[in-house]
């Protein structure tokens, strides 16, 4: 059906006691399955938005640093500093809002582009969560037809022990099986 990806040949090995590493490894594997088994293209829009907000915030902070260095404090730089500080923290607030409401744990957006270029793209979103010290990895796959479509979603809960062997190596085949199952569930589900 498809060529096996680099990750399939050589699955990553992580510290099996580190919940953060486990989640990242599972996220990477799900993304890898989505992109290599189907001819989807990854869309970076979500991550780009986050990068943009952070860059603006850091830009203001660098500006404040340079301005203070050129015009040392007590003079006119007071109002400039005030503006920079306020804008910076506003940007931090925007970033938090963005991460909480827009991103919602989505780590991969893949587009199923229509070959003829007529129909709008199908957008696949994969999001996940793994609570601290918990072993249940919640995976949510959603499909939306671009523009106005209502999203269809399928969820599953994976117990992390079943997807890593004793040395901490990722069991790529098991992950792939789950992802493909969710994917075909969504494809066949009517609205």
């Amino acid at each position: 059906m498809s060529v096996s990806s680099a990750m399939e040949e050589n699955p990553p090995k992580v510290n099996k006691w580190d919940g953060n590493a486990l989640k990242n490894a599972l996220d990477d594997a799900v993304k890898d399955v989505l992109l290599s088994h189907f001819s989807y293209i990854e869309s970076h829009k979500l991550l780009d938005g986050r990068l943009m907000i952070s860059s603006v915030a850091v830009g203001f902070s660098i500006f404040a640093l340079v301005w203070d260095w050129l015009y040392p404090f007590p003079q006119s730089s007071r109002s400039v500093m005030l503006v920079c500080v306020v804008v910076y923290f506003v940007m931090m607030g925007v970033l938090t809002w963005y991460t909480t409401y827009l991103e919602r744990g989505i780590f991969c957006t893949a587009l199923n582009k229509d070959v003829a270029g007529i129909d709008p793209d199908q957008i696949w979103n994969a999001s996940s969560s793994l609570k601290r010290f918990d072993n249940k990895y919640h995976l949510r796959l959603s499909q939306r037809t671009g523009g106005s479509g209502r999203p269809k979603e399928a969820r599953t809960v994976l117990t992390v022990e079943n997807f890593f062997d004793e040395t901490g190596k990722l069991l790529y085949a098991s992950v792939a099986k789950e992802v493909l199952r969710l994917h075909s569930d969504l494809d066949s589900k009517k609205n």
């Binding site: 991550l47 990068l51 850091v58 404040a64 640093l65 404090f73 007071r78 500093m81 500080v85 910076y88």
Partner: protein
């Protein structure tokens, strides 16, 4: 990791540094002082302040300098600020003020510390008035300054950790 990921790690690091910087600048704006938090380096203000105490300063223009207050000031030509008590104040009607300081634990006033020929301090020499303090915490800063290698090691370690660690 692809280049977006790498850029994001750097941005993460930059955001942590920026947050610290912005909090400092915010404090500067709110207190009106160019150095709102200082560490006491000498024992010249004992028993009120000891070496390693952290001081919080404000520098509001409207508040007058009065005898008995503890001020942090900089002498022209030296960059280390000094924290001592105000002994004598001369004030003109237009608000121009000159004052003399002395450390509580010193035997003589600070005229020996001032610049050559200077007998009084002016308003512009003041970095701020001490408003509150936290004992002992500043010892960390003193250690970092006495052993700069330790400071660089800690900073480098933190930097590497933030750059490598994936959220």
């Amino acid at each position: 990791m692809n280049c977006r990921q790498i850029f994001y790690q750097f941005l993460n690091f930059a955001m942590i540094v920026s947050s610290a910087l912005m909090i400092w600048k915010g404090l500067m704006v709110v207190t009106g002082s160019e150095s709102p938090i200082v560490v006491v380096l000498s024992g010249s203000m004992e028993p009120a302040f000891h070496r390693g105490d952290l001081l919080f300063l404000t520098n509001y223009e409207q508040e007058p300098i009065r005898a008995g207050e503890i001020v942090v000031f900089k002498v022209e030509g030296r960059d280390i600020p000094i924290v001592h008590r105000v002994m004598k104040v001369h004030e003109k009607e237009d608000g121009a003020v000159k004052f003399l300081t002395k450390g509580d634990n010193n035997n003589v006033d600070d005229r020996g510390l001032y610049a050559n020929g200077q007998a009084w301090l002016n308003r512009k020499d003041v970095v701020g008035r001490a408003r509150g303090y936290v004992p002992f915490i500043g010892i960390v800063t003193i250690i970092m300054n006495d052993y700069p290698k330790f400071k660089y090691a800690v900073l480098a370690g933190l930097g590497v950790f933030v750059l490598i660690h994936r959220e």
